[in-house]
């Protein structure tokens, strides 16, 4: 690394950075700023408001805060994030990774094979993941899950109708947990063996080892992953939209689907933008913490 010394350096620097910053500026930052602007207007996709929107002050926000659908969508999103990202993809995944990882006095066979199988769900695009589950969780007697239940004499369950929210949560865990496990297992194996053995010689049980040695050492990685998966889960759209389009009723209308429907099915761009801005605020707060965690990496 060296400081910019000559005009030539400065020119190179600016010239090389500009394309990247321009792309980010036009397609990410401008829309984000525009979202804030638009959230104060009654911009619509059709009708009179489409051509000449005007300022409505905080009206979109007061409408959102008074809209029970928005409340329930927000709550549903928090539950979705808590269950699939925090519990499923972080806590549960870490526990299983601890089982999988090789450490002193604990070695399982076939772990590379398991790791390869576990990566498959993440490898499929959202659209295909949704199709796979549309078949697997089909609500009729012919659905794969229901045929399994039928073997033990349980009646068909209408997974995507009667239990839609639970089902899409499980589908999201299905997609995210394997990768998290493989990642955590690698992190656990990167802890020096001598560190772990010292604990064992002192007579620590596996549980004490986990709590006193492994978790404190891996705390930064776990936290970073937790933040990242939380943030991405807030933004999930395709997987759920493909499977249920937010239904039945609005049982699976997470915030991404709420925004999409207000903006593009009810044509209320202003309202959709306002909801987007609120989502953005939540994510930027989480993101600030994430960036703070990463501050030493620069």
């Amino acid at each position: 690394v060296r400081p910019v010394r000559s005009w030539r350096d400065a020119l190179t620097l600016v010239g090389f950075l500009t394309p990247a910053l321009a792309l980010l500026g036009v397609f990410t930052i401008w829309p984000a700023v525009w979202a804030i602007y638009q959230s104060f207007t009654n911009k619509a996709l059709t009708g009179f408001e489409a051509r000449s929107p005007h300022f409505v002050g905080l009206q979109n926000y007061t409408r959102l805060l008074g809209d029970p659908d928005f409340h329930s969508s927000m709550l549903r999103t928090f539950a979705f994030v808590l269950l699939s990202a925090v519990v499923g993809q972080t806590i549960f995944a870490f526990a299983i990774a601890y089982l999988m990882a090789e450490r002193p006095r604990w070695r399982l066979g076939f772990t590379p094979l398991f790791a390869a199988v576990f990566l498959l769900p993440l490898a499929v695009p959202e659209a295909v993941a949704a199709l796979l589950w549309a078949s697997t969780a089909n609500g009729t007697q012919e659905g794969l899950l229901n045929r399994g239940l039928g073997l033990v004499g349980l009646g068909p369950v209408e997974w995507l109708q009667a239990h839609a929210f639970e089902t899409v949560t499980v589908v999201n865990i299905w997609r995210g947990i394997p990768f998290a496990m493989v990642l955590f297992a690698a992190a656990i194996e990167s802890i020096p063996r001598t560190t772990l053995e010292a604990g064992l010689i002192d007579g620590a049980s596996a549980w004490q080892q986990l709590r006193r040695v492994v978790l404190p050492i891996l705390r930064p990685q776990i936290l970073t992953f937790l933040m990242l998966t939380t943030i991405t889960t807030f933004g999930i759209f395709g997987l759920v939209f493909f499977l249920t389009r937010g239904g039945p009723g609005n049982a699976t209308e997470i915030i991404g689907i709420y925004i999409y429907q207000r903006a593009f099915q009810f044509f209320e761009i202003g309202l959709g933008s306002a909801a987007g801005v609120l989502l953005l605020v939540v994510l930027l707060v989480l993101g600030a913490y994430y960036v703070w965690l990463m501050r030493e990496q620069v």
Partner: protein, 300 residues
């Protein structure tokens, strides 16, 4: 990861022996440990089944002439669905479109991210750290949050329903991650390699491109960009309404929700084609990806 597995010799060899005395004093330990092992295997097998069972529809239906949404073993295995897919105009169109979007986005991204990553790594200037952290913060913005204004901007700039518009949007969404990756990659390439080329009379830029580019970094960035664009659903859903310009993800969705007559064999064959690059990608780039996500998203 597997490097780690090879290391053990000396220390672990000694360790079990040292502890076996303790184990001998407590005869229950051995039994308990093998019970724990069995339990661990059971859990892993259950999870592997959970991971893999949903794929059964895809694998069976793609080769079934009378495919339906249900999982069933074909009475006669056939490649007809694939033949239909590639001879049918719509099927081929979708695949070509996806290749255009992903290929274009990859190209743009590799060029742009390599350039920026290089100077971010090699020069120090005021605000560099803030810029890097700011780029990281942009990463947290999901497409859903700003899709509505993006649509309006696309309308006024006129890139709605265009190949280049969607390609650029897709590239820009992968850019923060790619920038970090490339910067981290250049950090690991010693400047001495370039300096050697300067001595040979190359200008600084020539040296950078001739020496550094052939290394593996941009390749990993390209893979990640390609697959990110390949999988994207919401952006084309909103920005592309012209059926001739749909990527595969949209084609699958529109075919799936057409209530009239869903051609399940076609859907399965198309899904299969759609999945292949993604799976190949994970096989090829698994280690790089783990680093990029473990460290990478976490730093390097």
């Amino acid at each position: 990861m597997s490097d780690e597995l090879e290391i053990p010799p000396a220390v672990p060899e000694a360790a079990p022996r040292a502890t076996s005395q303790a184990a001998a004093r407590r005869p229950g330990v051995r039994v308990r440990r093998s019970l724990a092992r069995t339990g661990a295997y059971l859990i892993l097998v259950a999870l592997a089944l959970f991971a893999i069972v949903p794929f059964s529809w895809l694998v069976l239906a793609a080769f079934d002439r009378q495919a339906s949404i249900f999982v069933k073993v074909p009475t006669a295995w056939t490649l007809e669905n694939f033949v239909n897919l590639f001879t049918n105009q719509d099927g081929l169109r979708l695949i070509v479109n996806s290749l255009i979007y992903s290929g274009g986005a990859t190209l743009v991204l590799v060029v742009v991210a390599t350039m920026a990553g290089y100077v971010l790594s090699r020069y120090s200037f005021p605000g560099r750290r803030t810029l890097m952290l700011g780029i990281l913060l942009i990463r947290v913005i999901p497409p859903t949050a700003i899709i509505a204004p993006l649509y309006i901007i696309a309308t006024s700039l006129g890139f709605l329903n265009t190949y280049y518009g969607v390609t650029l949007v897709l590239a820009s969404w992968q850019l923060p991650l790619a920038l970090w990756l490339m910067k981290g990659f250049f950090d690991t390439v010693p400047i001495q390699i370039e300096e050697a080329a300067w001595v040979d009379g190359a200008t600084r830029l020539k040296a950078a491109f001739r020496v550094v580019l052939p290394l593996a970094g941009p390749g990993v960035g390209a893979l990640i960009a390609f697959i990110g664009a390949w999988n994207e659903f919401l952006i084309p859903l909103v920005l592309i309404s012209d059926p001739d310009k749909q990527p595969i993800a949209l084609g699958l969705f529109r075919a799936y929700i057409s209530y009239t007559q869903v051609d399940w064999g076609f859907l399965a064959a198309l899904s299969m084609v759609y999945v292949i690059p993604a799976v190949v990608f994970y096989v090829v780039a698994r280690r790089a990806l783990q680093q990029s996500v473990a460290g990478g998203l976490a730093g390097t």
